[in-house]
Amino acid sequence: MPLELFSQYLFAGITYGIIYAIVAIGFNIIYNTTGIINFAQGEFVMLGGMISISLNSLMPLPLAIVCAVFITMLFGGLLEIVFIRWLESPSVLRMIIITIGLSIVIREVALHIWGDGVRALPYFTGNVVSSVQILGASISPQVLWALAVCSIMVLMLSLFFKFTSLGREMQACASNRLAATLCGINARNMVTFSFMLSAAIGAVAGCVVSPITSTQYDMGTGLAIKGFTVAVLGGLGNSMAAVAAGLLLGIIEAFSVGVGFPLVFQDAIAISILLVILFVRPHGLFGNKEAAGLKEF
């Protein structure tokens, strides 16, 4: 494989990989504070894209994106308050079914609001044909935008969890909810914050990839499965490992197309990886086996 082609596939893989990583981080944030997987995580990405596209006709692009992220964030918080906050120690099965139901309803409402057409935000800089030469490959400037925004977001998140008091309180809830409550942390509010945070980062991802991959009402399920694959691959709950796992999956997918694997089976690759990982290393590639022994798979 010539170098130009190699770097072309590599960049395509990294672009998709970073999006999967963002969805996986969204899963992890909620999983850490509540122990549940939010099956509606992919819908946040769709909502971010769709709302920003609608707002863009009323206001300049940067403002539309900020508003879309803010609206999606409030929506995430609202979902938690209405559907999850008041349940007394719900079973895992119950939570799975509720979040699946939410994802269906959000998708159907989106279908009725925005229709089943494919929409996209305009390119942040340049247009469809403009490109930058890197290592012999022609890269759309939007790819660089996506990489930059997502990298900054991951960095900010890790700083947020390490150095802000809110981030540390969420961490405390994640590691031991009872102890955190005894220290005066309002655990329920932390759960709401975690939904808002993961809705917001999902929406940001939805905005930056919209020009490249475009936005459709039913994009959520596919993203949720890929994101979950990545989260499990990295070890559920471990956000930094999710970035590495996301890049890995994205690059595998891109090169599988490169070597002539049928495009329609691209999803099947991710799912097969998921199944194999679940059976062989349920604690993930980077997870700790002993720590995982305490969790239920």
Binding site: V92, L93, I98, I100, F279, F297
Partner: protein
């Protein structure tokens, strides 16, 4: 058999007959088509109910098993073997000698030679059983989210395969599937004057299935399953081979789904990729949840009512959304199914006291 077991079965049989009589008397024979389809869906639901309610395992991949059954049968019975027989294909000649091929004519008068539906049916069941074992052995070691995602992943792979493989008709699916003659005079097809017979075939198949499950639930196996649902570790400690029981129920329910798939495909004369879709699986889970997980009768009645309303187009373009809303509402306010709401329990209690 004590009355606690036989009564519901008898009532069930009476309701099935009464439905047919009521539609005929009121001159609404056209309802029978949707009712028949609802009954086949109920067959799948009853199997899923065993897995979810009694063994406590979530499966988001049952539309996949339905599709394996339906597509296997549809592919084999629409494959025209006339030229293969003339060409002297060894396998086809052998099948012809064994009398396992059926001849017929297509709409355009073309001569057709296809695999006997019974053979296709048996093959569909065998394939489903093998796939269910292969998927079930590793998957059922998982719990909670992992199990949900793994079965969802299985369903999506099946959907992708039928959508992308040419022999399965890609996005169009398979149409012109011939009827399935169970016995001379008893044929599963969508012809108008066959409607009442077909309703009773569906009712009979469902009745047999339910009888089987009912016996299973009240047997040693059923008690073991409930023990697994209640506390798996405790059940294990009592000497119940939990993983084997879980695997067997999973396989049984997959076979139920495949039987439903085969019969529905012959009844409709075709199958499409949407039948393998994830939304279908979610819908089945929703119906079992509404019925109250571990309630066969709840799942059956809800399955029949909701599927019928959905097929009649009562929910319009909000079809999927309605199931989503139902799913959320039930799980929020009545996680044990609507038949377990305080209102109903009070009603039952007062009926007992009198």
């Amino acid at each position: 058999m004590d009355s606690k077991k036989t009564m519901p079965v008898l009532i069930f049989a009476v309701v099935l007959v009464a439905l047919q009589v009521a539609t005929s008397l009121s001159g609404r024979d056209y309802y029978l088509t949707q009712l028949t389809m609802s009954l086949y869906t109920c067959l799948l639901i009853s199997g899923l109910c065993l897995v979810m309610g009694y063994a406590g395992q979530l499966s988001l991949g049952h539309a996949g098993f339905f599709a394996i059954g339906g597509y296997t049968s549809a592919t084999l019975t629409t494959l025209n073997l006339t030229s293969a027989l003339e060409g002297g294909n060894g396998l086809v000649v052998l099948l012809a000698k064994l009398g396992l091929l059926v001849s017929g004519t297509s709409l355009f008068g073309e001569e057709l030679l296809y695999v006997q539906p019974w053979l296709a049916f048996v093959l569909a069941i065998v394939i489903t059983t093998v796939v269910a074992f292969l998927v079930g052995i590793p998957v059922l070691k998982l719990k909670g989210h992992y199990l949900a995602m793994a079965t969802l992943g299985f369903g999506i792979i099946i959907y992708r395969v039928v959508l992308a493989v040419e022999i399965f008709g890609e996005a169009d699916g398979i149409s012109d599937v011939p009827g399935f003659t169970l016995l001379p005079g008893l044929t599963i097809n969508g012809e108008m004057d066959n409607r009442v017979i077909n309703y009773y075939i569906a009712a009979g198949v469902l009745f047999l299935g339910v009888l089987l499950l009912q016996n299973l639930i009240y047997s040693r196996v059923g008690r073991a399953l409930r023990a697994i649902h209640g506390a798996e570790d405790a059940a294990n400690a009592m000497g119940i081979n939990t993983s084997r029981y879980k695997l067997y129920t999973f396989v049984i329910s997959a076979i139920f789904a495949a039987v439903a798939g085969v019969m529905m495909t012959h009844y409709n004369g075709g199958i499409a990729p949407a039948d393998a879709g994830v939304m279908k699986s979610v819908r089945y889970v929703a119906i079992v949840a509404i019925g109250g997980m571990a309630s066969l009768w709840g799942a059956l009645s809800m399955g029949a009512v909701l599927t019928f309303l959905s097929l009649r187009g009562m929910f319009g373009s909000y079809d999927d959304a309605v199931f989503g809303v139902i799913l959320i509402t039930i799980m929020l306010f009545a996680p044990h199914g609507i038949l377990q709401l305080p209102f109903w329990r009070k009603f039952k209690k007062s009926a007992k006291d009198e």
